[in-house]
Symmetry: C2
Subunit: 135 residues, 2 copies
């Protein structure tokens, strides 16, 4: 990525947390289903906007996380929205492979609360082994 001389105006409207992060909700652009929630920092958001594909900030690995880099399940950006407080983003995406979750499911939100228990209600579309093992 090229060096940035100064922040674009749209970036200045965003209220990053004390850690320099903002949560991003990725939704299927056709059904609006929430697929996953991850974090972005300034750099990952700029790369997302410039590249047209979701790039998050991995808090555990402390590095850019180009979604789908390993699994191939990239997210093509259709629309980015900012909320009234300027501290949450939604991303409307086309999810390659129809799998956003590392468990091989369409969405990370596959557990429903019912009768005092979490019930897994969505199928595994692609096994994690198949997604991450390219030997």
């Amino acid at each position: 990525m090229e060096s940035i001389m100064s922040d674009p105006d749209w970036l200045a409207d965003i209220k990053f947390s004390d850690q320099g992060l903002i949560p991003a909700i990725a939704q299927d652009s056709k059904t609006n289903r929430v697929l996953m929630v991850a974090w972005m920092n300034r750099e990952s958001l700029l790369e997302t906007v410039n590249s047209g594909y979701s790039v998050y900030w991995s808090r555990s690995r402390q590095k850019l996380w180009r979604k789908g880099e390993e699994s191939g399940n990239v997210q093509q950006i259709e629309e980015i929205r900012l909320d009234c407080d300027g501290d949450v983003l939604t991303l409307n995406v086309v999810q390659k492979g129809n799998v956003a979750c590392h468990t091989g499911r369409e969405s990370c939100f596959f557990r429903v609360l019912k009768d005092g228990q979490w019930h897994t209600v969505d199928p595994v579309i692609k096994s994690p082994e198949e997604m991450y093992n390219n030997e």
Copy 2:
């Protein structure tokens, strides 16, 4: 609310932050549109589940925020989901008055990034004065 003898099992599966909070994404149960994102603590989540209506934790006011208490725009819970990491909730809700945002719009996500600027693309359905001034 009655005193709780011990945490129910489903609550033990939730990974609250160091501050004891979890973000909750409220979506329209019919269209899946993301309406707002707010925080819940243990107490507000229990009250949400027991009452069937969204109760958040206001970080700025440090108190329970029974959504719609002032405006009348309550959120009736249809479904609660937990993500794979156990640290984000989605709420499928029926939004009374079709207004979730304090600006009087359906959703807090009314600004779209286009050509390097945020564009407000959604109309005000009910004026904030009308919502909050009941004199």
